[in-house]
Amino acid sequence: MASGKRLISDLRLFGRGYLRNVAGLFFGLIFPVILILIFGAIFSGNNTGEVTVYVQNQDTSVPDISGNFIEALNSTSILNVQSVDASENFTKYLADHSSQDGIIIPANFSLNYAMEQPVNVTVYGNPTQSTNGIILGVVNGVTNFFNLNRYGGSQIIGITTGTIGYESPKYVDFLIPGLIGFSILVSPMFSMVNISAEYKKNKLFKQLSLTPLTKFEWLASKVLFYILLSVVSFLLMVAVGIFVFDANITLTVWLIPFFILGPMLFCSLGMLVGTITKSVETASVLGNIITFPMMFLSGTFFPISMMPDYLRSVAHVLPLFYIVEGLNNVMVFGNIEAALVDIAVTAVLAIIIFVAAAKLFKWRED
């Protein structure tokens, strides 16, 4: 029979050892906080979000429609327009300024506009860069507006902007679920891959098999420890998010299933990896092969909507995907119904892998 006393005693010994190990402490608690500081700083600093674009106005005709056009581009607060003197070689100028984004207003732009003669502005850009699409969109919009105006038309359909979820989320709000998922994955997974292979090599499992502690109790104690660690790491990240980045984070009971199932799943998966491999080295290689793609393809740092279809299908077989999706459903969208599906998938995976790990790993040899 499982004994709570043995489990707690093992948890205490393991936890104390963990806290004494600086490397473990760093990866378990400090690293996620550093990540949130870095990502938070990158995406929600004082960046105005404007795209810099160089504009050369070759038009000298009157009335000064080209000046108004440039003014209109600038006033979108999407583009940061830098004027380039008409005497410069434009493409060389762009290259000298390490930029690929530029707009040329041709000579006689205003005259042609006034005469209702077709005239083209030229947009330079690199189609693989997101800035190119932004600039094209803005130029298109402004051009349409000027075309409409020329015939005395007025705008009928307008746009007001908004974001989904609670009151005006910041970038860091979107970042936090991904980073929580990341820390739920990384810490238990890497530790357990290492522990299972290392204990096997050092014959620590053999040592433990000589005591009344059972394999099940031992694994359950590790799961319990990483649940506690994930919660502490979550609270640290939330504190940093709130105090440093003024994030809006919803603390709800619906987070609890993820903090239980996530560490259970990845502890067990790490244990399984260490169990089926023969040496510490191969265990760590296999661990990395499983962990790194999962780390990047599950929507932790980048939304999976950014990915091509085949990568999205890959994401759907990664356990972490359901945890990150579920955390987003709970924390960003408040969509508990959708989160329940994620919880169910995660629970099934966690239980299967936990049982498989507990059954397969060996205390003693044949």
């Binding site: 004994s3 006393k5 620590l204 040592q207």
Partner: protein, 318 residues
Amino acid sequence: MIPIEVSSLKKYYGEIKAVDGISFTVNEGEVFGLLGPNGAGKTTAIEIMEGLRERDAGDVRVLGLDPWKHGYELHKKVGVMAQGFTFFEEANPREAIKYYADLFNVKVDPDDILSEVLLEDSAKNLFKNLSGGQKQKMGLALSLVNSPELLFLDEPTTGLDPSARRAIWDVIRGLRAKGKTIILTTHYLEEAEQLSDRVAIMNYGQIVAMGTSDEIIQKHGSPERLEIQGTEKLAKYIKANTELKVDYNSKGMISVALNGRIDALAALAAAEQSGLEWGEIRTRRDSLEDVFVHLVSGTIDEHGEIKTAENASNRRSR
């Protein structure tokens, strides 16, 4: 109840016969040593008794239990120090003892156990900072937490320096004095001789000799010899004038096998009669080491490997 009964135990790994049909019993309160070179099958045998490995054939009863089938029950009653004992690096001996006490659900005073294994000084040093000897003492300490009557010690002093080894011996002698039954494996002949009441010498998976040191020497050793310092000429003279078996070695020692005390008188009379010079005389019996060298065809070096008789210096006159 006889603590350990082993009969016709076998364990093969493919072609390798790690344990090839050994039988012995260990009696209550006895220290039983399994002595042999590396690869002789000592650890395989003791791990089968501890319930850490499954046997292929034969019967093993430890405290009346089948150690493989009832390992979990057995482990509550016995103490085991595995070969090359390791523990969690970031735990100290005191914590480890408390941990074991919780696992075994017993109440113990860590200080009592620490003093029993002479480890009070390092009670709070993390395992990773302990010396080899201190680690082994901690292994001994943990094997004592559940107050077992039967202890398995698998190579308790391998790799330790002589003074650390002697400290462990003191601990084991203390346990023997308390009446505990102990089975230990070792490749140190001196260790087996110093600690064990009875020794089984293992080689290639088989027991080649078993008993007290005296019994083994009696059975496997050559008879008592008279050694006379003298020349080869004297040796030949004695051989020619008596019916005795006489050997001569290059170090100037004449060795006469004695089947009785009277043979010594005959040999000495012949020596005196020869009129040749002869020096020191003494009688000599085989030591356990002599027998061991004979039985495993070599001596065992510090690391437990056999040095063949040809390599070994002339420990044994032939």
